[in-house]
């Protein structure tokens, strides 16, 4: 952000596609989602995934390895909007103050 006016592309054009990855929005977060495995359908049998579908920042990471399902958040991009907690049908996600 220290570039001078003549060191940046003309007219605000973004000339490098996909560069929003460089802009970490995690710093906006006031509350963070906390996930518990106990009732989660993804952990249980690899179904549901509503949190993954609804997350506007692709910050929910669902992985499967050798038939074992695991769950994580990418806190670099999670803005703490709480949509995942709201959408979860089994109340496996709750929000906690940062």
């Amino acid at each position: 952000m220290s570039e001078k006016y003549d060191e940046i592309p003309i007219a605000g054009n973004i000339i490098e596609p996909g560069n929003s990855e460089k802009y970490k929005t995690g710093g906006w977060r006031a509350e963070r989602p906390i996930h518990s495995d106990e009732k989660c359908l993804w952990i249980k049998n690899g179904t549901c995934g509503r949190c993954w579908i609804f997350c506007p920042d692709m910050a929910v990471i669902l992985t499967e390895k050798d038939g074992k399902y695991s769950y994580a958040y990418n806190y670099d991009f999670c803005k703490g909007c709480g949509i995942c907690a709201k959408e979860c049908p089994t109340d496996s996600i709750h929000m906690e103050k940062e």
Binding site: K4, I8, N13
Partner: protein, 397 residues
């Protein structure tokens, strides 16, 4: 090399028709416009060229002027040569996108038949619409004749598309006075215009194979830097225009400059006006000179960017400058043109008295006698050593 006389086509054309012919020869890719008096003929004529297969451009008949300018921005973003036309209320409806066009650095040519703004609704000429968009970042060129409108429209593309400019250009003619009056117009052969303008080479454009984003968000961290770029670009336009015109003059012998001067060298009083008023002012200057009053005329063509230093130099030696203008900036310390002139003179060593007359609003005729009245008043103010901040002329009061 000058184009030989036998290749020049001469026709009687209205200002609007002259512009339509220039747009035809400019080989547009897209024209998007919505009809509004007194600009309608430009688009009507152009649509006819399109229907008759004389032009290859895609004509987009949009649902509003806001959409017209938006379509132009999109077409320009993919690298096309683009034009539109409007006036008055239509121009006002474009307002938001005018800023986008300029800030996104789209070299769109926007021909305007200058017309009063509502209310009361009025279809006749003044410069309220042009002055309303003066801070949008558009280059503004005001023309005195159909010939100048034709020439300027062609030059506008060359100017706008230069990579050291990349700004939209408004080409203005006085509604009805120039837009609908038939004058003798000399037109260049098509191939000469094609060679003069070439094909637009976009600095950067939207391309699915090489995706970029245009017009995104820029907040406190970057917005100001983009405005700095824009400012630098428009401040260089005076010099760029001179280069474009020099090349054009080689073909035609015609030259307008940023402004035209008429008998200003020894003038005591200089009339400063824009567009069609320039012609009347020159006749008045001649008549006043026969009576012994040394009157000269500066007819300003380029209002944006304002040729500050050049104007200060051109008028500096006179005793007074009488600014005649067809717009009001309600509540201002003077009206748009006079504000610029006074500011231009503030740092100058030689400062004539600036007298500001608002004339011709809503198409009220500005006959020679209005100028004579203004000059007689200016002579009185010179004697008194002071002039009012501004006054209206030609209004019943």
């Amino acid at each position: 090399m000058s184009v030989s006389k036998d290749k020049i086509k001469i026709e009687g054309l209205t200002g609007d028709a002259a512009i339509a012919h220039a747009l035809k020869q400019a080989d547009l890719d897209v024209l998007a416009a919505y009809p509004i008096t007194p600009q309608t003929i430009i688009v009507e004529d152009y649509q006819r060229f399109a229907a008759d297969g004389e032009v290859k451009a895609r004509v987009i008949p949009v649902e509003s002027e806001h959409s017209a300018m938006s379509a132009c921005v999109g077409a320009s973003a993919v690298g096309g040569r683009v034009a539109t036309a409007s006036a008055s209320a239509g121009l006002a409806l474009m307002w938001e996108i005018l800023y986008c066009a300029a800030s996104m650095r789209m070299p769109i040519v926007f021909t305007v038949a200058n017309r009063a703004l509502s209310a009361p609704i009025n279809i006749h000429n003044d410069h309220s619409d042009g002055m309303g968009m003066r801070d949008s970042g558009f280059i503004q060129l005001y023309c005195q004749s159909s010939q100048e409108a034709y020439d300027t429209t062609i030059m506008a593309f060359k100017l706008a598309e230069r990579h050291d400019v990349l700004l939209p250009v408004m080409v203005g003619i006085d509604g009805f006075i120039v837009s609908h009056n038939v004058e003798r117009v000399e037109m260049l052969p098509d191939d000469v215009v094609t060679k003069f303008l070439g094909v637009r080479e976009p600095f950067i454009s939207l391309d699915p194979d090489k995706p970029i984003t245009m017009g995104p968000l820029a907040l406190t961290d970057y917005y100001f830097e983009f405005k700095e770029q824009q400012d630098e670009a428009i401040m260089g336009v005076g010099e760029a225009y001179k280069e474009v015109e020099e090349e054009f003059t080689k073909l035609t012998g015609r030259k307008y400059g940023l402004f035209e001067t008429y008998k200003t060298d020894d003038a005591d009083i200089i009339i400063l006006a824009m567009s069609s008023m320039g012609g009347t002012a020159k006749v008045v200057a001649d008549a006043m000179r026969e009576k012994g009053d040394k009157v000269g005329v500066v007819r300003l063509k380029m209002f944006r960017p304002f040729p500050t230093k050049e104007i200060a130099k051109a008028i500096g030696k006179a005793k007074a400058v009488a600014v005649f203008e067809k717009a009001m900036s309600f509540g201002a310390a003077g009206h748009p043109l006079a504000l610029e002139v006074r500011t231009a003179l503030y740092e100058a060593k030689e400062r004539p008295m600036v007298v500001n007359f608002v004339v011709g609003l809503g198409g009220r005729d500005v006959p020679p006698m209005t100028f004579v009245d203004g000059i007689e008043k200016t002579k009185e103010y010179l004697k008194k050593g002071e002039a009012p901040m501004y006054e209206t002329l030609g209004v019943r009061k």
